[in-house]
């Protein structure tokens, strides 16, 4: 693997994206506006009136970093599922790349860099929308951007590794249904995990999304501690590095038969 070569494969994804960026940019603006409008403002009014948010923060400021982290997860997962399987089965672009000096490592890393770029741009838009809604309480919030990229790769790495072993996109349905959706709902995104039954609270604590949510929340609210930041980053790094390493091996087994 070399970064110069990985960037050549990255460039393909950039060219590929130029065809669809309008639609995807619209989605990445409209989504946060809807979520923050409905949850932060709509539901938030009720929650705030009941006075039950943890630490008494405004519900919008509480939920916004949760949804931000969850979106990084979703973008990372999505970019690593259909596009990866498609590059093997439908467009076969990985095979085109492999006929050139690019190797497996360059293809994996170039694509992961692209996924990280997608996570970074949509998270940046999200952060801007949160700011516009008045949901940011600390300048540390700028660090939520790299945090989101880390969350994105923590999901994109393992997902790409898995996608490279599949034949059909139906294989993604259970991952979404039993992995991504429950994590989205129960990893402290919308309410603190301390409200879960104790067993489930520990399950939630083991999910990479909870670490991402807690990290982002600490940063946008300015309540982060060094120790929790280190734990969250380290845990997410394990998923990201482990996932990408696994992708090296599943890609190799799939493409170099």
């Amino acid at each position: 693997m070399s970064y110069a070569l990985a960037l050549r494969s990255y460039e393909f994804w950039l060219a590929f994206y130029k065809r669809t960026w309008r639609g995807s940019l619209a989605t990445s603006i409209v989504n946060p506006v809807f979520y923050l409008g409905a949850l932060g403002v709509g539901l938030g009014t009720l929650v705030n009136r009941a006075g039950t948010t943890p630490g008494g923060v405004d519900y919008l400021a509480f939920v916004a970093p949760g949804v931000l982290a969850a979106t990084a997860m979703q973008v990372g997962t999505t970019e690593a599922s259909w596009p990866v399987l498609g590059s093997i089965r439908w467009t076969r672009v990985y095979y085109a790349m492999l006929a050139t000096p690019l190797g497996i490592g360059d293809i994996v890393v170039g694509h992961q860099l692209w996924m990280a770029t997608r996570v970074a741009t949509s998270s940046a838009v999200y952060l801007a929308v949160i700011a516009a809604f008045g949901g940011i309480q600390s300048p540390l919030a700028v660090l939520a951007l790299p945090a989101c990229v880390l969350i994105g790769v923590a999901f994109a790495g393992p997902m790409a590794a898995y996608a490279a072993t599949r034949e059909r996109d139906g294989a993604f349905v259970p991952v979404m249904r039993f992995g991504i959706v429950p994590m989205f709902l129960f990893s402290g995104t919308f309410f603190p995990i301390s409200r879960l039954p104790v067993v489930l609270e520990w399950v939630a604590r083991a999910t990479p999304l909870w670490h991402g949510v807690d990290l982002c929340r600490g940063l946008t609210l300015g309540t982060i501690t060094w120790s929790s930041a280190v734990v969250h980053v380290a845990y997410l790094l394990v998923w990201a590095v482990g996932g990408v390493a696994l992708a090296f091996s599943t890609y190799r087994r799939r493409l170099l038969k």
């Binding site: 467009t91 050139t100 000096p101 690019l102």
Partner: protein, 313 residues
Amino acid sequence: MGESQQLPLVRARGLEKRFDDLVAVDGIDFDVQKGEAFGFLGPNGAGKSSTMRMIGCVSPPSGGELRVLGLDPVKDGAQIRARLGVVPQDDTLDFELTVRENVIIYGRYFGMSRKELRARADRLIEFVQLEDRADSRVEPLSGGMKRRLTIARSLINDPEVLLLDEPTTGLDPQARHVVWDRLHSLKHAGATLLLTTHYMDEAEQLCDRLVVMDKGKIAAEGSPVELIRQYSTREVVELRFPTEPPAEIATSVDGLARRVEMLSNRVLLYTDDGDRTADGIHGRGLAPQSVLVRRSTLEDVFLHLTGRTLVDE
């Protein structure tokens, strides 16, 4: 050093490829010299693509020895691939991008500059006669046009060896001739071509030398003319029948041909003088639906070597 002692660009000894229990390539030997057009002729599943993929450094050999451009495909894959052009059996074009963008993006994988690529892409697109379609998307192009684009793309890095896996399969006769014409022109310019095919006419047209592959093994090797001389006769008389030829025909044509081959709806008589054999048929009162005298082809060589036809009847 004499011509014949030059280091071969591709050299295989006892080369093997296994997929679990299946032996796709079963210990083959060959050398490809610079400037040669070398073919692998064989039916479906013979192991042609498996061999090409090993040469293209995208499939590690399971056994034997393989050298490409004097290097080891397992260790020096990237270095070798930088100097190869590959036309895979199934196109890997990007249907959403234009013809020109496909060539340019591909050139970027080789690290060429955009400026350089723009000029080269135009020349290659012209070479494969797609200049009218340079700015249209790939998806609506015909099969022949897509194949030509794949060929143009494979030439972007000025390859020292061009690997063509079934360059014309699935194309109509006219489209095939356009591709052949382009490959001929590459050949005349001194390119080294390795190609697979299950069309004997393609092998005869394009290859200086070829190997006949069957079930992972090389059944014969030589130039098309040599192979025909060695394994067939100068001419063939085909007797066609509306139904299965009567079994006793084998004895009734006795002495008219050097060899007789019975197929499902025809009988092939291998002979050095087709007209005399055809006359003899009429003399013996046989009444096939039609009698055709033709020159011997590689198809006959294959049939003789394996007892089967190249393309399923």
